[in-house]
Amino acid sequence: MMGGAWRRLKSDRYGMTGLFIVIVFSMVAVCVWSGLLGQGWSDVSGNRWESVSTTHWFGTNLLGQDILQRTLFGTATAFEVGLLVTFCSTLLGTVMGALAGWYSHGWLDEVILWLKGVLDSIPFYLFAAAVAFALQGIPWAMHLAMIITFWTTTARIIRGEVMRIKQREFIEAARAIGLPSIKIIFRHVLPNTFHVLLVQASIVFVAAINTEVILSFLGLGIQDGVSWGLMLAESSQEVLAGHFGNFVAAGTSLFVLLMGFNLLADALQDALDSRRATA
């Protein structure tokens, strides 16, 4: 199945463009984490609002910090948030969804659905901002806020998948030989939801980066360091004075990365959709 999916993905020009963009940004993030790039994000290396030059490719900000260095570091921040939030919320959503789907129409399903319903009924950004605000001062407040809000969609999708898969013969067989439910769920059911999880994870990744930028813009994001959201927040005070370095650098990076992820997510969805493959 995966081989076919990869072939279909390779033949999708937009999907490959998205993949290329994501790989480039991922490499930047890895280089920042390894200490090869962006380490001077906090240093004052120039004068206030220097324009674009060979020394400062995107110019400098109010303090004289190099905007390119900050943009590169911001890439690592985006990936750190994206990866952590995607992993945790997907894991949580998968477990909750699997339990709800397996025990569908039972009390556990009811409780999970109720919890999900409550969380979904609150406007997303409002809720994430409220949680981040309430937990402000805790270093992982923003991450927690996103994990709390993002797991519900994954859980809903996985619940549906599990309800479908558990009717299948091989599951009936596993039950018949007396395998415990937990083993069946984790060994036989969830591996069959991998393609859905992969697509969903890429969507969550995009949402996490987007939300990080918004929360950081509002001052509810990262505590120490720099992110594209903080750069955009800085730019809101600079644009009127005619300085666009922060805005262009952070805005463009965000746009390109999100576009890349969206293209990749769409392509993945098409490539992993078995119905489309057989059509």
Binding site: S42, D43, V44, R48, L62, L63, G64, Q65, F133, Q136, G137, G219, L220, Q223, D224, L230, A233, E234, S236, Q237, E238, V239, L240, A241
Partner: protein, 600 residues
């Protein structure tokens, strides 16, 4: 059919009546509406809780105080407002007798019998001050009079019973107040100009309680029409006492004020405008755009626009494109910006071990040396702030222009040497939290601070941001000693530098106003000696000694006074103020007839 038409007309009329229309003018001319931009929103408008600059601005327009500052006189001079004259002071300086004006009424409100405002009496002033000492009020202004008025603190501890008389705060008759101080307090009359000292009616407090903020019942030049998170609309109080404007009394100086057109106000009774609108626009860009579009009459120019607005810095000159359109004023701030070290924190402040105590002192002094005031001024204050050593800013007469400025000169070499000599290196330097409320500028200020310190060898990872959602949260945290490096600003409450000196008086230690928790017996002794003195060369000398003590102990990285730039359109007759006069100037604002406007 006719009946139906009549009903529709009636409904339309009712709806129109419900709209917020400016009050009709007696002359039939268009209503004069003045729109004032504020860069923040006020909290409560209850005078007892009016802590912010923005709230005070509005409160003094809704309520009366016994005294205010003269509109135009600089240095600032106190002037009777609701009081008939300046207080009669006993020989020992402890007893003040104040007579209040007769025939001054609260605005009409259902809290009064028949809905008609009653006359203000001396007992209303007594009640208003007592409220600050009633825990139920959750008042913020008690510090002004704490341990100052005979019996007032005792009244609080005995249960705040309003029917119980306070020996030092009495209404001798309907129009005479007598105040007995427990010790001389030369600045006392200044405290009566504060928004906290505004006079409220007991009936209004009883009826509205915590909602008094939304139902102000005062006797000021304006009354509140509406208020929300973005705007407050005040209308002229037509019952405001008639007191013709006197140029001489208010300190008019033709050389300074004639170009503003203020002489035209001579003999007229304020307020001169029909409606006063405060627009709370925190975002610099939005505020500037609204002003540029002509939606506002006044703006405090955002720093990001200084390049655009000024053609040169010395002397400050308006760009030609604005010169023809606006009046302009550069106003030195009555206050300063500083970064305190938390002296109660053994990592950086006092330490029981004498040797470590000495090392901590060296560390603080090294950080003072590493700080670059020149750069701070250039980046955040457009190089037009005034850097000065200590806590006596250039705006007060006690400032010594010839003093040694080495405390505010960057000395990186000295900083490194000091650290090295005291055994500090990257591993032994303590990790310190630098606190600030959440905002882009505050974060930039932190990053700059951290850069200054890293230049001296302090590892960036050892100066950590401690970010708070609101300034209130931040204030609470540093008041509880939870912040090692406290970045803050101080705006003087009254034009007497004693107001600054008390910031480091030992008994005022956190959670009091001494946020550094500085505790030096020599400083405290000098403060007590100076606190009972009137302005004099001796007092100035004492203040300067205290200032030097603070610098010797490296208690604070201080300081700078900002220069604020004001712009207002040429059709507005006024001299704005954001300092001690504050919102009092609003009653004297006038618009030339062509500028009288209707809402956009």
């Amino acid at each position: 059919m006719l009946k139906k038409t009549k009903i529709i007309i009636l409904l339309v009329l009712l709806m129109l009546g419900g709209c917020e229309q400016p009050p009709p003018t007696d002359s039939g001319l268009p209503a004069k509406i003045y729109r004032h931009a504020m860069d923040g929103a006020p909290g409560s408008l209850d005078p007892a809780q009016a802590t912010s600059l923005y709230a005070k601005f509005i409160v003094v327009n809704l309520y009366d105080t016994l005294y205010r500052y003269k509109y135009l006189a600089r240095p600032y001079q106190v002037q009777p407002n609701l009081a008939v004259a300046m207080p009669e002071v006993s020989e020992d300086g402890l007893q003040l007798t104040i007579r209040i004006k007769r025939g001054v009424y609260f605005i009409d409100d259902p809290v009064f019998e028949g809905g008609i405002g009653r006359e203000i009496k001396a007992k209303d002033f007594v009640y208003s001050i007592k409220r600050h000492f009633d825990p139920a009020t959750r008042a913020q202004g008690a510090w002004l009079w704490q341990n100052r008025i005979e019996g007032l603190d005792l009244w609080k501890t005995e249960g705040s019973d309003y029917d119980k008389e306070v020996i030092g705060l009495r209404a001798l008759d309907d129009y005479t107040v007598q105040i007995t101080l427990s010790r001389p307090f030369p600045q006392f009359v200044h405290t009566l100009t504060q928004g906290y000292a505004a006079i409220v009616s007991r009936e209004a407090v009883r009826k509205y309680g915590q909602m008094l903020s939304n139902h102000p019942v005062g006797s000021g030049p304006f009354r509140l029409v509406s208020r929300d998170s973005v705007r407050a609309v005040l209308a002229k109080n037509h019952g405001f006492r008639q007191e013709p404007f006197d140029l001489t009394d208010e300190g008019f100086d033709p050389a300074k004020h004639e170009k503003l057109g203020i002489q035209q106000l001579q003999g007229k009774s304020p307020p001169f405008i029909d409606q006063l609108e405060f627009e709370f626009i925190t975002e610099d860009a939005a505020r500037w755009n609204a002003f540029s579009a002509g939606e506002l009459h006044f703006i405090k120019v955002p720093v990001s626009q200084f390049d655009n607005v000024l053609s040169q810095r010395s002397p400050l000159t308006l760009s030609p494109q604005y010169d023809g359109m606006y009046h302009f004023e550069a106003s030195p701030e009555a206050g300063f910006i500083y970064t305190n070290f938390n002296m109660a924190d053994p990592r950086i402040g006092y330490h029981p071990d004498q040797e470590q105590n000495h090392r901590n002192h060296a560390l603080r002094c090294a950080m003072v040396k590493a700080f670059d005031w020149e750069k701070r001024n250039e980046i955040f204050f457009y190089d037009i702030g005034q850097v000065f050593p200590g806590i006596i800013p250039p705006s007060v007469p006690e400032y010594d222009a010839d003093s040694d400025t080495s405390y505010v000169q960057r000395d990186l070499k000295g900083a490194r040497e000091l650290l090295l000599a005291n055994g500090y290196d990257e591993t032994t330097l303590p990790t310190l939290e630098y606190g600030f409320p959440n905002s882009v500028t505050e974060r930039q200020i932190f990053e700059q601070f951290r850069n200054f310190m890293t230049d001296a060898g302090y590892p960036a990872s050892k100066i950590r941001p401690l970010i708070f959602a609101t300034y209130g949260d931040y204030q609470r945290a540093y008041s509880q000693g939870k912040v090692a490096l406290i970045n803050s600003s101080w705006t003087m409450d009254y034009p007497d530098v004693e107001n600054n000196m008390q910031l480091y008086f030992g008994p005022n230690a956190a959670p009091g106003s001494n946020s550094a928790s500085y505790n030096n017996p020599d400083y405290d002794r000098l403060y007590k000696t100076s606190a009972v003195l009137n302005e004099s060369p001796r007092r100035t000398q004492i203040y300067r000694e205290m200032n030097q003590l603070l610098m010797n102990d490296c208690v604070s990285i201080t300081g700078i006074s900002r220069t604020l730039l004001f712009l207002w359109d040429k059709e507005t007759i006024m001299k704005p103020d954001r300092s001690f006069l504050g919102g009092y100037f609003m009653r004297f604002v006038d618009l030339v007839d062509s500028a009288s406007s209707t809402a956009p």
